[in-house]
């Protein structure tokens, strides 16, 4: 095999690895924030059903907690970017 085709195959393997890695990173990384945000939403709904007069403040706090729970998903996104574009 000559030099050029070896380089070509190596590049192809690298691209394939990047795509697979980024996809797995995003896919698995999106599981835990999804579960966490679902939990937060469920409990917020519970408390709103129990005390409807507190719905406004509960919604505000729910959104903050959602944003904090989202952080791990965002980290996965950043790592996916890193794999795709910066590696």
């Amino acid at each position: 095999m000559d030099q050029e085709s070896t380089k070509l195959i190596a590049d192809a393997i690298i691209i394939a690895g990047k795509a697979i890695g980024a996809g797995f990173c995003m896919g698995i990384g999106a599981i835990s924030p999804g579960i966490g945000e679902g939990n937060i939403g469920a409990h917020a709904m519970d408390s709103i059903a129990r005390q409807p007069e507190l719905a406004n403040s509960i919604t505000t706090r729910m959104l903050i907690a959602d944003a904090v729970a989202e952080t791990t998903g965002i980290y996965a996104l950043l790592i996916a970017f890193l794999i795709l574009f910066a590696l």
């Binding site: 970017f81 890193l82 574009f85 910066a86």
Partner: protein
């Protein structure tokens, strides 16, 4: 690694943030704080005024209570006097009525006695006459006039005894 690069831009951003903070402090926050202070001061003034009003109300209430107490004492006194007077009047009236009643009773008794005496005398005379007539009727046939009389007189004498 363009995404994660840190360079001079960060310093520029820090400076721009400080500039923005300074500008906003001058334009937005100072009026906001001054307004908040003014509001707080006004609220505090209102609170002090409310406290004053409360104190005054307390004083007034105390005064009113004192007056009420005095009035109650006075009225109690008046009531006691009136009660005494009423008792006296009642007592007087009772005594008077008793006296009157006694008087009426005694006169009535006297009257009754008198009437009784009268009735007794009447009865006596009537009975005597009756007895005499009876005796006369009974003794008409058996005795003469003289013996009759003597006998009757004797009987009467005995009766009178």
């Amino acid at each position: 690694m363009d995404l994660f690069e840190i360079n001079l831009t960060s310093v520029v951003q820090l400076l721009s943030f400080i500039f923005l903070l300074w500008m906003l402090k001058k334009l937005l926050y100072k009026p906001f704080f001054s307004m908040m202070d003014e509001r707080k001061k006004r609220v505090e003034g209102d609170l002090a005024e409310a406290e004053n009003v409360r104190k005054r109300a307390e004083e007034l209430e105390k005064m009113a209570q004192n007056e009420l107490k005095e009035a109650r004492a006075k009225s109690d006194q008046i009531v006691a006097i009136a009660n005494n007077r009423a008792e006296e009047i009642i007592e007087e009236a009772k005594q008077k009525a008793q006296r009157e009643a006694e008087k009426v009773l005694s006169t009535a008794q006297l009257e009754i006695e008198r009437q009784k005496q009268e009735a007794l005398a009447q009865v006596q005379s009537v009975a005597t006459e009756l007895a005499i007539s009876l005796v006369i009727k009974v003794l008409k046939g058996t005795l003469d006039e003289k013996a009759k009389r003597e006998y009757l007189i004797n009987v009467l004498k005995e009766y009178e005894k």
